[in-house]
Point group: C2
Chain length 291, copies 2
């Protein structure tokens, strides 16, 4: 029996010193000049592998954004899978950010394609709008592999409000209705840490909502995008954690992987410094909270 | 200026005699014995191209399910794109069933990868849980190409109820809240037919909801899964159409593409007969409604 995903993630965060995740969102226009861009897909691969090399000792996790790779069709998808494997080989926890969601057998196909391979990602983002029976096939494959899921509950973008923050006749928000489905499914796979392998995506730009959700879902780990470039700050981040400093994985992408744009240093050195800064910032926020 | 997607779809339905769509959901276990399955991905390709060959003269549209192809990683994705191209070359309208959804630049990446190529699908299924700013990048690429979208509003699976049929404090259901976002976006791209290029997915298994949504969204075409194998029948289908017989595209997959399982006939002949039966059933339902 492999160790549960939630426990593995918590251990990795402890080892590396902070619960942070570097988003791999490669876009051609922003790749370093030092990378030959004659073949766009090869350039993305070189860049992502180069980022992995320098962040693997600094952070516990990376999150490749599938959309960036799928933009280039099948060759891009091949690079996505290669990047995932390389990150795992480097000892990183890999969050596959594909936001898939369907029903029944179609969800099962996605789960097999994206989660079943031991060299594939450790956890996958899933869209739960189709309900519990759309999530369960992902959960089943995840369980077989000691892996996890993060289901979208409260996203970081402004437009999410028009749906997720609406209030139901029973007083819950739509986000809470989705969250309740997720928490119910997740109660079946709770690790020794007390956290479930089935977590939630909760953006870092809605601190009041995050605080409410943090209280409502004690067994769920939150994957928290939106820190840095998307506008989330220290206060927003704090709301995602329990008082003991566990409960969330803070992701940042552009502020780390494009850190070289700000200076003249070697691009990989800049990316590594960006990852260190992210780690230190979050560690500082958590130690301040703890005091 | 190319013809608007909604108008093209209506024309094609008229030409072929019924608003129906054959779902291409290839699974290895159900492929005909006549197809060599030594290479799974090649077998799926042979099967899908063989289905396209015999349904292209019978129905206006096909809907490849991306999950079936993605199950096999990058080689599967390559076949997905090949199948889409072949279907378009055969004169079919292609509904890419990928249910993608993200925010900002990530949605734009998906849209470019799946919709921007003129040889790519004519319309794409999208998950709107992330709100209008998650849908807009898809809409922008669709608009540039004279293509469309179908956004998930009310899905055909039982689990969808736990979220989509919840009632808000303002009396709307969650499905209607999502639908209102979609209809608002869609009002910017209405064709000569009076229908928008931005339609909705509305399952054929919830006739009361379908009837309410049909009335609420006069400009939206409904992509209607769930007919046949998923349990939707004639009455369910009727609720998705306006009295003039327009407004929906009825999809069926397993009942058509695996029609050969029931008899000893050549598999392609059986699939063609299955497609003809689907077309005739829906045409009959609509002519009965019209009388």
């Amino acid at each position: 029996m492999p160790q549960q995903f939630a426990d593995r993630l918590l251990d990795a965060c402890k080892t590396k010193g902070a619960p942070v995740c570097v988003g791999l969102d490669p876009v051609l226009e922003r790749l370093p000049d030092a990378i030959d861009q004659a073949d766009p897909v090869a350039a993305m691969e070189t860049f992502c592998l180069g980022v992995i090399d320098v962040v693997a000792d600094v952070v516990p996790a990376v999150k490749p954004q599938s959309a960036c790779f799928e933009r280039f069709g099948a060759p891009g998808v091949a690079v996505y899978h290669k990047v995932v494997k390389q990150a795992k080989d480097a000892g990183l926890i890999v969050v596959g950010d594909a936001k898939r969601g369907d029903i029944g057998t179609s969800s099962a196909h996605y789960a097999h394609g994206l989660l079943a391979d031991p060299h594939g990602c450790d956890t996958l983002t899933v869209n739960g709008y189709l309900g519990g029976d759309g999530i369960e096939p992902f959960q089943q494959v995840a369980a077989e592999q000691g892996k996890g899921l993060f289901v979208l509950v409260r996203t970081s973008n402004p437009g999410g409000d028009a749906i997720q923050s609406l209030v139901l006749s029973d007083g819950r928000t739509v986000a809470e209705a989705v969250g309740d489905v997720v928490a119910s499914l997740g109660s079946a796979c709770v690790g020794e840490s007390g956290y479930s392998n089935v977590g939630m995506v909760v953006g870092a730009t809605k601190p009041e909502d995050a605080a409410k959700l943090r209280k409502r879902y004690p067994q769920q780990l939150f994957l928290v995008p939106g820190f840095g470039a998307q506008g989330g700050g220290a206060e927003d981040v704090r709301a995602c954690f329990k008082p003991d400093g566990t409960g969330a994985l803070i992701t940042a992408s552009r502020s780390v992987i494009y850190a070289f744009e700000k200076g003249d240093a070697d691009w990989q050195q800049s990316v590594q410094a960006g990852a260190q800064q992210l780690r230190n910032e979050i560690a500082d926020i958590l130690s301040a909270q703890h005091e």
